[in-house]
């Protein structure tokens, strides 16, 4: 008997997802189940038993519905977004040709991808459901109510994952039809998480709770349309009427059947749309053309003292700027800073506001530096060897990367600082001084990052060195900030932070330059 193709693809997907620990694949389901059971039965109840009075009061209040809606919405959006991000980041579509040359239908591909991802998401849903149930069971919920609540969680996660897999497949196929689209895919993978952060920040600050409760109500209407809200409504009904599964039976049945209808409806629509995904036929062959150098590159040449160094700087800047993923990282950083200001920082007291803002911006700049100057070796050893072959090439590469890093990072640092400082209504002089200080610290991080990446080169996009260097820079920048602020206070602390980061950066740059000149 022939096995269904979706089952074969699902098994393959599971093997791919678990290949990181393939030796333990056989015992993994048992280990995972045991760990989840231990968490659900012992850890989570122990955690929440301490605060049960507090939670009881809250869960019986009017705010609980909004809270539940927000939590389930965050879960819904997160599980929907993750497969999209993962799929868009994966640029390798070549295995698709092997599969499409076999007798496989697009709907088999879609179902297989979905079902293959489910086991790992089952762990996530168990932990989430277990956490909530540990909160709910002390309220006296009966076993049938508990099981129905678990069903609600399962339906929400399954719906979100299906929609995520479907959107990812269609987006990938659609963007894969043109050269520019393929490039945009990676850029989109990063930016797609921004709305998710907006939701999470908004929820953390309580703005969303206010809105849901009707204070300045602008988003409760659309929220009620979402399946996560129907599930929240069912669970809250159980909490308020523990032991009485039949209370307002119609609404409860309507909620659960609504979720079931949403899941099967979206699967039906998805299967109908699956032909649009997994299509290798290109639509556009037009490639992007290099435009003549404009004012910006003339300015870059001017900054680089003309000559051959200027040509190297302009070349690396062009190579950087013409990749949409790089531009998306800058937008991502500015987006994060704006959201933090909008949702979180603005509600803090004035003094704390500036301190935390400075910390977060300098941290963000360190994060940006990793992506901007991490490129110093990220395009592979071949790229580096082009410079090594030329006389004095490595020095010119390092110089060019420092200038290019500054050209990219300094304006972003200035804009980020102004996003935070202007709304805080600081005196103009203080705003200018703090902005200059942040730009200077960001410059020091450029030097520090280049030094670190020369010392521990990352020759591809996702090697362990890239992650290691990123963590190192973030940790160094965090501790430098804390030490400087504690030891020198806020005013002199910034100057100390600048000098210290510049000092450490210079040492790393010197040692790194030696390393890269001798690497074989």
């Amino acid at each position: 008997m022939r096995r269904p193709k979706w089952l074969i693809i699902a098994k393959n997907e599971y093997l791919l997802k678990t290949s990181g620990f393939r030796r333990y694949r056989r015992i993994f389901p048992f280990l995972a189940s045991a760990a989840v059971m231990a968490y659900v039965l012992f850890v989570a109840p122990a955690m929440f038993s301490l605060a049960s009075d507090l939670t009881k009061t809250f869960l019986l209040s009017d705010a609980a519905l909004a809270f539940m809606q927000v939590m389930l919405f965050v879960i819904f959006i997160s599980i929907l977004t993750i497969p999209i991000m993962q799929t868009l980041q994966d640029t390798n579509i070549a295995p698709l040709e092997t599969i499409l040359s076999a007798p496989v239908e697009p709907k088999d591909m879609l179902l297989g991808k979905y079902l293959g991802s489910l086991p790992l998401y089952a762990i996530v849903v168990s932990v989430i459901a277990g956490t909530f149930l540990a909160l709910f069971i002390p309220f006296g919920m009966t076993m049938d109510q508990v099981l129905l609540a678990v069903l609600v969680f399962i339906l929400i996660v399954m719906s979100a994952l299906w929609i995520g897999v479907l959107i990812a497949a269609i987006l990938k196929a659609w963007l894969g039809k043109s050269v520019r689209g393929r490039e945009a895919r990676q850029a989109l993978a990063m930016l797609i998480s921004l709305p998710l952060f907006a939701v999470i920040y908004s929820a953390m600050n309580g703005d969303m709770l206010d809105a849901l409760q009707g204070h300045g109500n602008t988003i409760s209407g659309p929220f009620l349309m979402l399946p996560s809200s129907w599930g929240a409504d069912v669970i809250l009904r159980f909490l308020r009427h523990p032991g009485d599964v039949g209370f307002d039976l119609f609404s409860m049945v309507l909620g659960i059947f609504g979720l079931l209808a949403f899941l099967f409806g979206s699967i039906f629509v998805g299967i109908k749309l699956s032909g649009r995904a997994y299509d290798l036929e290109p639509v556009s062959f037009s490639s992007a053309k290099a435009k003549p150098e404009g004012v910006f590159y003339k300015y870059v040449r001017l900054l680089s003292a003309r000559g051959s160094l200027a040509t190297v700087v302009v070349t690396v800047t062009k190579d950087y700027g013409r990749r949409l993923e790089n531009i998306s990282r800058i937008i991502y950083i500015l987006g994060l800073v704006s959201m933090m200001e909008l949702f979180m920082l603005s509600s803090l007291p004035q003094g704390n506001h500036v301190s935390i803002a400075l910390l977060t911006i300098t941290w963000m700049m360190a994060f940006l530096c990793v992506f901007v100057v991490g490129e110093v070796t990220a395009r592979g050893k071949d790229n580096l060897f082009i410079y090594r072959k030329a006389p004095g090439g490595e020095s010119r590469l390092i110089g060019a990367r420092i200038i290019q890093g500054c050209i990219v990072v300094q304006p972003v640092a200035a804009i980020s600082a102004l996003i935070v400082l202007i709304p805080s209504k600081f005196p103009l002089v203080d705003t200018i001084v703090l902005t200059i200080a942040i730009v200077a610290i960001a410059t020091a991080y450029v030097i520090m990052s280049i030094g670190l990446f020369l010392l521990s080169p990352a020759f591809s996009e996702k090697p362990i060195e890239m992650i290691g260097n990123a963590i190192s820079i973030l940790v160094i920048s965090f501790f430098l900030y804390v030490v400087c602020m504690v030891v020198f206070g806020e005013t002199w602390g910034i100057l100390a932070l600048l000098l210290l980061s510049l000092g450490i950066g210079s040492i790393l740059l010197m040692v790194g330059s030696r390393k890269i000149k001798s690497i074989e």
């Binding site: 022939r2 096995r3 074969i8 098994k11 040709e97 499409l100 040359s101 036929e281 639509v283 062959f285």
Partner: protein, 263 residues
Amino acid sequence: MTSNAPIITVNGISKKFGKRNEITALNNVSFSVNHGEVFGLLGPNGSGKTTLIRILNCIFKPTSGTAIVNGHDLKEKDYVKRSTGLLAENPGLYERLSPREYLEFVGALYDVDKSILSERVDRLLIMFGLSSRGNDLIEGFSKGMKQKVLIAAALIHDPPIIFLDEPTSALDPRASIVVKDLIKDLSTKANKTVFVSSHFLSLLEDVCDRLVIINQGRIVSIGTVKEIIEKTGTIDLEQAFIELTGGKESKDLLAWRDQVEAT
């Protein structure tokens, strides 16, 4: 053993790409491939070779025209797909799988019976010298070893027709000889039809019973190597290829140095 019965018949296939069909990849291509034949496909970059192979494997649909593959029209996708094995030009592997897992996966996609799949995988791994690495992840393999896994995957369901798009492009000379011998054996001993696309003229000269040369989506010549050379009045396949596809123009390749000489 070659017979005169065609196993692939291509009738006036054209393929256009773009929103307004502005790019013609194939233009009214017709030919046939006989059962058991090793058939070569030769053409410059961008001439439409890969597009043709994708059409004959039902990955792309032709804009017009049709083809019969192993007695099935291209519209009978599943039958055509079961009749063919494909080594793609830019093949993709699931690198986080082992060769054994990958071959079992591809075999299952083609409905190879579970009772024989495992043994077949073992035999293919032995044949390609991969049995000792059968459980290692593919990500650690060299290009040549990956190519061997992909060729094994094209053979896993034992199809009557095998398409090999640039089969030796990533291989060292020794591995290339193995592939060359394999192509010959598939045709002579296993009675398979092998459709090979390659830039390596020596490979095509050695293994092909006949070949077709395409340029800018059109067939410019078809026949045995000897016939093509005779038709073009040249002395070898390389010259015949250049004669048929252009590129005869003799440029002064050192003209760029005039400025240097002047100074």
